[in-house]
């Protein structure tokens, strides 16, 4: 079954205490960060620490994602080389564009062969945080078979666009739309940018609901306290679940009677509505909200 990525929690890569706790904080995925959370003078130290953490700590309950440094820095290629050898689930590639993803794909294939891992087993999530990355996001996802999702980086993107980042997030409306639509078209996860005010829970709820309403499938978090709120927003509501179950029941009934299109409560039910109901029920089952 496909992994849930409602929350992806960033953890600084050079902090042993946080690396130890990362697995038990309730996030669907953890991002062990070698990039922005690590100072230039500690890149070597964090790389070795994260490598050993993956070898030593039981992360079996979460997806282990490592954010490497950009490949055009002196650190990025070393990060990929060292980290891929201990087989994290996924690499998060920053400042992603087509060339960068192709390069990481080739590097991973070589390492997987050398280490005797199944080629293609380490996945990639592209961090879209430049105007170029955003405008070519379809090609970026197509650049590797390993691609399982896109994470939208709102801070760097707005910096690249030369615009101000606000709490309301109107300035990333287009980016969210674009990422959500392309990811849906290519059936990969669309992960929203983190909400940076870790004390504003109401703001986080609104921001997450907005991302969900635009079609994003998960949200990154920068503090463990954000996880529960994000999960609550991404869980289907009781009303949504009941309605979805009713749609599927009505569909079975209609199939028995040989009808293609049918109506429920006076509204026409066709394939898109049925697909949506199936998605909702499947999510409800995976979250244990309803029985299988």
């Amino acid at each position: 079954m496909q992994k849930l990525r409602r929350t992806m929690l960033f953890m600084p890569g050079n902090n042993p205490g946080m690396l130890q706790d990362a697995a038990i904080l309730g996030a669907d995925a953890i991002i062990l960060d070698l990039e922005d959370a690590v100072s230039l003078t500690e890149k070597d130290s964090a790389r070795i620490l994260v490598r050993d953490a993956i070898k030593y700590i039981d992360y079996s309950q979460v997806e282990v994602v490592v954010r490497v440094n950009p490949l055009d820095t002196e650190f990025g290629p070393q990060d990929v080389d060292v980290i891929a050898r201990v087989k994290p689930d996924t690499l998060l590639v920053p400042k992603a564009d087509v060339e960068e993803i192709k390069l990481v794909d080739i590097m991973l294939a070589k390492i997987e062969e050398e280490e005797g891992y199944l080629v293609g087993s380490i996945k990639i999530i592209a961090l879209i945080e430049t105007a170029l990355g955003l405008e070519t996001v379809y090609e970026v996802i197509k650049a590797s078979q390993r691609m399982v999702g896109v994470l939208l980086g709102g801070e760097d993107l707005t910096a690249d666009l030369g615009i101000t980042r606000t709490k309301e997030g109107e300035e990333i409306f287009y980016a969210r739309n674009k990422v959500a639509t392309v990811c849906r078209a290519l059936r990969v996860d669309a992960i929203d940018t983190p909400f940076t005010d870790t004390n504003d829970y109401e703001g986080l709820t609104k921001d997450t609901a907005r991302a969900k309403s635009l079609g994003l499938t998960g949200k990154s978090a920068i503090n463990p306290r954000q996880i529960e709120i994000i999960h609550a927003v991404f869980a289907p509501t009781e009303v949504e679940l009941k309605q979805a179950l009713r749609v599927l029941a009505a569909m079975e009934e209609a199939e028995k009677e040989g009808k293609g299109v049918f109506s429920l409560d006076g509204k026409m039910i066709d394939a898109p509505v049925i697909n949506r109901a199936r998605t909702t029920v499947e999510l409800g089952q995976r979250l244990g909200l309803i029985e299988r």
Partner: protein
């Protein structure tokens, strides 16, 4: 704090470090490692730990194991432990030595 000295063996090819280097921090769950070259050819370790009574021996073994694994001789190590797990101790020793070569 205590000091131990490990005599060098003749069977393995050893590498010398050339400068003083540090890795790690004094935050909890971490360990600060300082390494420096010495002329004796031995491995000398000075260890302080908040859990010296319970885990002093284990920490010492993890540090010495890493130093030997990396084939280093003529090294003095000062370690200040704040409750680091084995993986952190190993990682910090490795980083300090790589910075000192």
């Amino acid at each position: 704090m205590f000091l131990i000295i490990v005599e060098k063996s003749n069977e393995v090819i050893y590498i010398k470090i050339t400068k003083i280097a540090k890795a790690g921090t004094l935050e909890s769950n971490d360990i600060l490692i300082m390494v420096m070259p010495n002329d004796s050819g031995n491995i000398e370790l000075e260890l302080e730990s908040i859990v010296m009574q319970q885990f002093g021996d284990v920490i010492e073994q993890v540090i010495l194991h890493k130093v030997k694994e990396m084939g280093i001789e003529g090294i003095t190590i000062k370690a200040q432990d704040k409750g680091a797990l084995d993986y952190t101790i190993g990682a910090r020793v490795e980083t300090a030595i790589k910075r000192a070569i």
